[in-house]
């Protein structure tokens, strides 16, 4: 099995996620981009697990999924509480804390 196409795809997804975090303005979309980055990691994990012939990477993918789910709980709680206050989920509006 050649791993390069899979790792290439995973790197592409990771880059799309990272660029999305940097350019998008809605906190929910930023958060979704972070999730995309985590899933790109998962793709790398399972690809390398298959290449190395051990199960560590596949187990890691499960751990990452659980952690991502926990992160969703915390993240949405924070974003929703901000939305209730400001009626906006834009990360640009949250700019009270400055030098």
């Amino acid at each position: 099995m050649t791993v390069e196409p899979f790792i290439g795809l995973s790197a592409l997804l990771f880059a799309i996620g990272a660029i999305g975090v940097l350019v998008r303005r809605n906190a929910i979309v930023v958060f979704m981009c972070v999730e995309l980055m985590l899933n790109a990691c998962n793709l790398s994990f399972v690809t390398f697990a298959r290449a190395h012939g051990n199960l560590d990477g596949q187990v890691a993918a499960f751990f990452v999924m659980v952690v991502a789910a926990a992160e969703v709980v915390v993240g949405l709680a924070i974003i929703v509480s901000i939305f209730r206050t400001r009626r906006s989920a834009s990360v640009d509006d949250a700019s009270l804390l400055k030098l």
Partner: protein, 539 residues
């Protein structure tokens, strides 16, 4: 991998799964803290509201003290391991945790910070009998619902179990012996902190904004950390630090994966320790978060993340030192200089302490670039000593910040602190001692800790870093002295600052941290011996 070997795995007869052999006594401090956290969740569900806050304090304090005692017992029973460098203890729990000398010292340190943090969280005399945390985080700030909840004296006593989970995650992070465990520990320590940052009672808009910034940037950086882990796994075929170390020293090929993995892991960790250029969140989060949370976070996260960083880079990537050392050098230099220069421009006390924390991350990185073995002060022991001294002074400084108040809660504008020396000489002297320790003036813990990281770096051949470090210390000293002059000699603005009368909880935190700061400066021997004897990391 060829198709044949896949068949071999799939087609083999299922072997019985062996029960893992776990030495529960060795990891008991971790289990006690996580048990206290779970018990706190149950208390939240079953204890009537009137008794909940007090019960939570009791559970947290008893848990931390019991875990501290267990840590001392575990630490006293560690076997000495002879190798290239002397170590103590070793991997346990099927190799997923390494309970060695540095890990046990870090546990004790984190539990000490955790106890001080819980005491600050429990303070209710400053704000009319209410804690520093919002009545109900789900209500919008300034709404009728919020006022209603405040009138009913509803409180978020969940902060105690959250703090225990964060503390458990920090302890796990400092002792994890494989990269996957480190990722899980990183999230277990971060997620509760994101939430606690958004729970301030006063200035809730700032607090929520701090929580969102911390969360989004923290999640972003842990994704980098995770991708780095994936690359290193691709290189070594294992998550274990020992296996990665073997691969680094013996494997030929795949260097690109290793370099990419090390760089991404370094980015994730440097974010957590607030090193330049990954520091942007620090001032905002330190300013917006409730001050007791800032105190706990400033001391605890930095300690856990630094020990984990040393463990990864010394144990797993020790053989590739010449690949990562230049990056650490460069980041140490810009972090020290940036932290020192940027703190000069600050007008807010909490932001100033945040920039000071950034500068201290730079000094700690100087320690990381130092000597790994030998008779002198090693990197590990210097960094451990530094973390104790810095953490104690940081918690004390933020405890003082909770006490200087006006009608709107804490008053953190530096100008409003003018004349504090007349209003409350004791508090002003305590704050001065913390600032002098940050600056590294002799007879404070900060001096010995700066000396030890510089000594480790000098012996390790990193003398340019020491030169820059001394220059940055001198720059920072100018600023700290300016604040001290402001406290004692500047005329107060208007009525001057008011100092709230706290309960014995906050007073004891200030007293303990002042005592630790001075004792570490005057009699550093016992702690220096302890961190020296802790030895190196054992994989």
């Amino acid at each position: 991998m060829s198709a044949v070997s896949v068949q071999a795995i799939v087609g083999a007869a299922p072997s019985p799964i062996e029960a893992p052999d776990v030495d529960y006594a060795t990891i008991s401090p971790l289990l006690i803290i996580l048990g206290a956290a779970v018990l706190g969740v149950l208390v939240e569900a079953f204890v009537p509201r009137a008794y909940r806050f007090v019960t939570q304090i009791a559970v947290a304090v008893v848990g931390v003290v019991a875990a501290f005692v267990a840590t001392v017992v575990v630490g006293a029973g560690l076997d000495t391991v002879d190798g290239e460098v002397t170590g103590r203890g070793g991997p346990t729990a099927m190799g997923s945790l390494s309970v060695d000398g540095p890990a046990v010292v870090t546990w004790a340190m984190l539990l000490f910070f955790g106890l001080l943090g819980v005491l600050l969280f429990a303070e209710r005399r400053l704000d009319g009998g209410l804690s520093a945390f919002t009545s109900q985080a789900s209500t919008p700030p300034g709404s009728a619902d919020e006022r209603h909840a405040t009138r009913l004296r509803i409180e978020h006593s969940e902060v105690f179990p959250l703090a225990m989970f964060a503390l458990g995650g920090m302890m796990f992070f400092a002792s994890a012996n494989d990269l996957l465990g480190m990722f899980v520990a990183l999230e277990v320590l971060s997620l509760p902190l994101y939430l606690m940052c958004g729970l301030a009672r006063r200035r809730r808009l700032l607090s929520q904004e701090a929580a969102m910034k911390y969360f989004l940037l923290g999640a972003f950086s842990s994704a980098f950390f995770l991708y780095g882990i994936a690359m290193v796994y691709g290189y070594a075929g294992s998550f274990g630090l020992a296996e990665i170390s073997t691969a680094v020293s013996s494997q030929i090929g795949g260097q690109n994966l290793l370099l990419a993995g090390m760089a991404l892991i370094l980015v994730g960790l440097l974010f957590k320790v607030a090193a330049v250029p990954f520091h942007a969140w620090t001032p905002d989060v330190y300013q917006g978060a409730p001050t007791p949370v800032t105190a706990f976070m400033a001391a605890g996260t930095k300690a856990a993340a630094f020990v984990a960083m040393l463990r990864i880079f010394f144990v797993a990537f020790g053989g590739a030192r010449w690949d990562w050392a230049p990056a650490v050098w460069a980041i140490a230099i810009i972090t020290m200089l940036f932290g020192a220069i940027a703190s000069i421009a600050q007008t807010d006390v909490k932001r100033m302490l945040a920039y000071s924390s950034i500068a201290h991350a730079g000094f700690l990185l100087v320690g990381m670039a130092g000597l790994t073995s030998g008779d002198g002060v090693t990197s590990v022991s210097a960094v451990l000593f530094y973390l104790v001294a810095y953490g104690a002074a940081a918690i004390g400084a933020f405890a003082v910040v909770t006490l200087v108040r006006d009608a709107g809660g804490e008053t953190t504008h530096l100008g409003r602190w003018a004349g504090l020396g007349k209003e409350s000489p004791v508090l002003a002297v305590a704050f001065t001692i913390f600032l002098l320790s940050f600056a590294g003036i002799p007879l404070t813990g900060g001096f010995i800790s700066k000396w030890s990281v510089f000594a480790a770096a000098w012996d390790g051949g990193a003398w340019p870093l020491v030169v820059v470090g001394v220059v940055a210390s001198a720059l920072a000293l100018f600023f700290y002295i300016r604040v001290v002059v402001l406290l004692f000699f500047a005329p107060p603005q208007g009525d001057g600052p008011t100092v709230a009368v706290p309960s014995p909880l906050t007073w004891s935190v200030v007293a303990i941290t002042v005592a630790v700061t001075i004792v570490l400066g005057v009699l550093p021997g016992p702690l220096l011996d302890l961190v020296q004897q802790a030895g190196a990391f054992v994989r």
